[in-house]
């Protein structure tokens, strides 16, 4: 099978895995599936995963991307882990508000604040 380049930039900060997106638009179904699978592999590699997803580079996302985030959140919870979202552009934050997903996700203004929130 052809090797597909990663859609994520991943780095470890102590026991927290920080993920950033390569793409400014998270719309395309195939890309979203790849992103979800890549993040799921990161979650599966840790017993109680601490995951921080930064949206610093993201201009647009679709409801399919929200669906992927929900699936990832459920996976993190099932492994007794913690998920934080950070650096969300105000327009995209509005999408979380409209869908009421700001109730499901722990969203922080900055990477620093998100890092400080991990238990």
């Amino acid at each position: 099978m052809a090797q597909v380049s990663s859609r994520l930039r991943v780095r470890k900060d102590n026991d927290v895995t920080q993920v950033e997106f390569v793409d400014r638009n998270i719309l395309d179904e195939a890309n979203i599936q790849q992103i979800r699978e890549e993040i799921e592999r990161l979650v599966e590699g840790a017993p109680r995963p601490k995951l921080l997803i930064s949206f610093a580079n993201v201009d647009h996302l679709s409801s399919a991307a929200l669906g992927a985030l929900i699936t990832i959140n459920n996976k993190v919870k099932s492994r007794d882990g913690q998920l934080r979202l950070a650096n969300i552009d105000p327009q995209i934050y509005e999408v979380f508000k409209i869908t009421k997903l700001d109730r499901i996700f722990q969203i922080h203004e900055s990477t620093d604040r998100a890092m400080a929130s991990f238990a």
Binding site: E29, H60, S63, G67, I70, N74, V95, I98, L101
Partner: protein, 148 residues
């Protein structure tokens, strides 16, 4: 004869419209967004409007391909009509599928549905658009965006 260059934000210019047949290809879809968003820019729409229209179109096209064209050949195109003037954007997304009944979609903002991974497209379109209606047998989605 050369056409005069349109000015950014010039509300006096006439409406711009077009009809595009789109296959389920990111290149074709992105090109369609560029057509619509460029026309909006020439009619003085700001970035927030571009965000709203792009998101709504993305949701409409995703539904058309994933649901409308589920049982059709993958190359079957969806038809997009757009018309932009100084007051708003009129969009029609028409697929060749059996049609869609919006009342069958459960409310994704109810507590018991919040963790379902799908079913938010229509909610988002309705949030950003002044009008969202399915016409015909439910395969023709008409959306109207009004400039704030």
């Amino acid at each position: 004869m050369a056409h005069p260059q349109p000015h950014r934000g010039d509300r006096s210019q006439g409406p711009e419209s077009g009809t595009l047949l789109l296959r389920n290809s990111r290149t074709e879809i992105d090109r369609a967004y560029a057509r619509v968003l460029d026309a909006m820019s020439r009619h003085g729409f700001q970035e927030a409007s571009a965000f709203a229209v792009k998101l709504s179109l993305e949701e409409a096209l995703a539904n058309a391909f994933a649901h409308g064209h589920k049982s059709l050949p993958p190359d079957e195109p969806v038809r997009l009509e757009f018309s932009v003037d100084g007051a708003g954007v009129h969009l029609v997304v028409e697929d060749k599928g059996p049609g869609f009944t919006p009342t069958t979609v459960p409310d994704p903002t109810l507590e018991e549905n919040l963790e379902l991974p799908t079913g938010r497209g229509l909610l988002l379109m309705r949030a950003y658009m002044a009008r969202v209606e399915y016409e015909g047998r439910g395969n023709r989605l008409v959306m109207v965006y009004r400039k704030p």
